[in-house]
């Protein structure tokens, strides 16, 4: 544990003693801040225009119209920015030779991977943490947003960010070129993001897919050809689909488990990849 924390702490130090953390948090704040402001202005305009009409006034809800769209935007900004955080994690260690220090020290590969991941996760937490100021800002005004669904939304965005980070770390472990690690992480994350679009055209059922893979054996065993389609499966794997309930303020274990599984799987694979590099040299 001490080793993991030492590695994570060193990572965090590096973020905050170099311009990296400030540039990333700064850009993140500028973009999300503008989006928040734009929604807020539109909301207050609507309030001014229709505030006198009791019917419309009931429809106006600061959670639905300002905060919920914010989470969607935060997700998109994450999609672009997390590869920039994750790309250097292991690739840079390999490139500069500091990997030799880490992997000849009495620490396990898992400890190194976990330490690196926790360090980057902290940066993510800092990025999200500063945006908490937005809902707090609204609270100081007359509008009183419901905080519980807001916090659930934040949890969702953070979990999704952690998943992106896991995928990025895995790709960073495969190369010593940071550009490849960054572009690769972005490509894979984007792919996972847009899975629903692909899913739409994948109407073939999983059962019939299995049937053709097994050369008709599936059908002969009377396992049935109906059931969920490939598209349904892909939809379940989409990063953005699992965020939707969080955005609405619904805390569903299905989604929490999904994101945590992605994190666990990618950390596990990263550990395997790094271990295997000892054999290749």
């Amino acid at each position: 544990m001490r080793n993991i924390l030492a590695i994570a702490w060193r990572e965090i130090r590096t973020y905050f003693t170099s311009p990296l953390a400030y540039v990333i948090i700064g850009i993140f704040l500028a973009l999300s801040g503008y989006i928040f402001w734009a929604h807020l202005v539109r909301f207050s305009e609507l309030c001014l225009r229709f505030g006198s009409n009791p019917y419309f006034l009931n429809q106006l809800n600061v959670n639905d119209m300002v905060i919920r769209p914010l989470f969607g935007s935060l997700g998109i900004i994450f999609l672009f920015m997390i590869p920039a955080v994750s790309m250097r994690l292991l690739a840079e260690e390999r490139k500069t030779g500091t990997a030799e220090l880490l992997f000849t020290s009495p620490v396990t590969t898992a400890q190194v991977v976990l330490g690196k991941y926790l360090g980057a996760a902290f940066l993510l937490l800092a990025m999200i943490g500063v945006t908490l100021s937005y809902p707090v800002l609204i609270m100081t005004s007359n509008a009183s947003p419901d905080m519980k669904p807001t916090l659930v939304g934040y949890l969702g965005v953070f979990l999704m960010g952690l998943s992106f980070l896991g995928v990025g770390l895995l790709i960073s472990s495969m190369t010593e070129n940071q550009i490849i690690a960054g572009v690769g992480a972005f490509g894979v994350s984007l792919g996972l993001w847009i899975l629903p679009w692909i899913a739409e055209s994948a109407t073939v059922t999983l059962a019939s897919l299995m049937n053709s893979v097994t050369f008709g054996l599936w059908e002969k065993l009377h396992l049935g050809l109906g059931g969920p389609t490939l598209g349904d499966l892909l939809n379940k794997m989409s990063f953005v689909d699992h965020l939707k309930d969080f955005q609405k303020g619904l805390l569903d274990t299905e989604h929490v488990v999904f994101y945590l599984s992605v994190v666990f799987l990618s950390l596990f694979l990263t550990q395997r990849v790094v271990d295997s590099q000892r054999w290749r040299g």
Partner: protein, 310 residues
Amino acid sequence: MIDVSGLRKVYGDRPAVDGITFSVGRGEIVGFLGPNGAGKTTTMRILTGFVAPTAGTARVAGFDVQENPIEVKRRIGYLPEHPPLYREMIVRPFLRFAATIRRVPRKDIASRVDRAIERCGLQQVAGRVIGNLSKGYQQRVGLAQAILHEPDVLILDEPTVGLDPSQIREIRQLIKSFAGAHTVILSTHILAEVTMTCNRVLIINEGRIAADETLEALEARGGRTRRIVLRLARPGGGIEDQMRGIPGVLDVRREDGQEGVFQVETEGTPEVSERIAERAVGQGWGLLEMRAITLSLEDIFIRIIQGEAA
């Protein structure tokens, strides 16, 4: 302290290390000598657990590198060819970090870091960013990182590469001061380094051990000369054949470019030299000079690398 047996590492289909066996006792300073690409770095990386061997075993302090990597790594201090430094970090925090992951007990970290800083002469730069230090200081930070946890075994990969002469001297002094307490393996392709710091030499070439000797034994090879240089005033034709007739003479070669100079390959006994001298005087060749060639370490090294018998 270190036992290596039948070590092999193959990259693709090219063996980098091809069946190396040796052992190093406690307190020895051993030099790995060999041309670039001979397999020195790979051997060291296997010993430190950074790279896994294809075949063979390596044991450090009784622990197998593959089976007990953590125990081995606790006992090893390693300075790779490129010192593994986080360039954006400040020297002292970096050393504290290195001490932590090297499992120095928390209460000892401050004192060990101070000690390493002092031993490596880093007092003046302890508060500076590593990336801004000169190559010499960076190398010293690398060395400090390797000795922090007071390891039994110190493995240094080309510790003086890229330093200026005075820095090289300081680093060598430092390495020498480790003798006795630590077992040191250092690699180099500079012969002088070995003669100045080590008491034993392992010459590695093309992934194999070409020689494993103490420095004295290696130097003694140069003394057992088998070559004699002759300079004659009247080097007529047929002299080579006449000399080849002397019992104990194996070969005679006329040196190109130098008038009247011959190289004589002998069996190496004093009697042969005597007979050659007698013949030269007796035949009236005008013996101007006759000397035995003692090989320098450099020559011996090159001959070993080239596979000749020195």
